[in-house]
């Protein structure tokens, strides 16, 4: 599976060797698995280094992620030969989460790890890890505190692997996830202070799915502002979708999802743009 692609960066390869050593010292391991870039790479390295019978993937299924996410996670796991167990999480029933404070992720991850860690222990696994990478340490991520409180470790971050390095190493391994866009939870589309409800999450999910069906590629977020959907597209896609015919189709797709007004962000996609709008991070 591993290629001899000359583009592999040496620093990433050295860090991967450190990751292998880390995993061997900690095995067996349970991975909080989403099928995204980071956890898929971590699982691939772990399965190769430890063998399938010493790695368990645990997927936390939540209403705050689109249904399509689980199908992707299952496919990626199958491709890696990773055994996965799915557990349901219910953070929306936690009023502290639903109120959508700036530390919302703390309550979500508390719910996630409260469910996942016992599953790992019941399989005789004491080491639980997640896909947090070195870049994540510099972001505003209140969920990281919940992971620490539950004893969850972050080997990618510990060995210093950055997102770019993980993508490069994933590419070298032939993983289908290497260029997968980030896919944070749907609640990240709802401004802080606006209650997170299943109905709002489903509106966002329907709108994003409709735009994907229209042919929108690359980064995409539908930000929820009550009756108004603010669409963030990759910068290079903006001019295309502001053409009259394309705009008409985009607008109709989002209106059909349940919004009454549609706008497109002129700066294009920005990770954490609602953090900026909410004053959590700088513009």
């Amino acid at each position: 599976m591993r290629s001899t692609d000359a583009g592999v960066d040496d620093a990433g390869e050295i860090k991967e060797q450190a990751l292998v050593a880390w995993l061997r010292a900690a095995a067996p391991v349970a991975i909080g698995f989403s099928g995204g870039v980071d956890s898929a790479y971590l699982a691939a390295v772990a399965v190769e280094a430890l063998g399938r019978d010493r790695v368990l993937g645990v997927v936390g299924r939540s209403a705050s992620y689109p249904d399509s996410q689980w199908a992707v996670a299952r496919d990626v796991a199958a491709g890696l030969g990773l055994e996965v167990i799915e557990v349901d999480t219910d953070e929306l029933n936690d009023p502290r989460y639903a109120a959508n404070p700036t530390n919302r992720c703390y309550y979500c991850k508390t719910e996630l790890w409260t469910r996942v860690v016992p599953v790992a222990h019941s399989h005789g696994i004491s080491t639980v890890v997640d896909g947090t990478n070195a870049d994540d340490l510099g972001d505003y991520r209140p969920g990281a505190a919940a992971a620490r409180e539950h004893g969850v470790q972050s080997p990618l971050a510990e060995v210093g692997l950055t997102k770019d390095e993980i993508r490069a190493r994933s590419h070298a391994r032939g993983l289908p996830t290497w260029d997968q866009p980030s896919a944070p939870c749907l609640s990240s589309r709802i401004p802080y202070g606006t209650t997170v409800t299943v109905e709002r999450l489903r509106s966002v999910e329907r709108a994003e799915a409709a735009l994907r069906a229209l042919g929108v590629r690359g980064d995409l977020r539908v930000r929820h502002h009550g009756d108004l959907a603010r669409v963030e597209l990759s910068g290079e896609m903006l001019a295309t979708w502001l053409e009259p015919q394309a705009w008409t189709r985009l607008r109709a797709a989002v209106l059909d999802a349940g919004y009454t007004r549609v706008c497109v962000d002129l700066r294009g996609f920005r990770s954490g743009s609602l953090n900026v709008l909410g004053g959590v991070t700088a513009a």
Partner: protein, 73 residues
């Protein structure tokens, strides 16, 4: 936030529009296709001007059917 200064600059630049401020989000509503908005440089300038006016986010709504923010101008 000063939506007035931003809308004045947009109109001087040939973009007939209305602006609705939702907290620190500026929504620029145009009633017709506006080719200038497909120009990368123009969009960057709008973002810069919007930030100078106190907005953190700026978005455009093309309301060819009418009835959105333009009627509130």
């Amino acid at each position: 936030m000063s939506a007035e200064s931003l809308v004045a600059w947009l109109r001087e630049s040939g973009i007939e529009c209305a602006i609705e401020a939702r907290d620190r989000l500026a929504i620029i509503t145009v009633a017709t296709d506006t080719p200038l908005l497909r120009d990368d440089g123009v969009r960057r300038e709008i973002v810069t001007r919007a930030r100078a006016a106190g907005f953190t986010n700026v978005a455009v709504e093309i309301d060819t059917l009418g009835g959105a923010a333009l009627s509130r101008d």
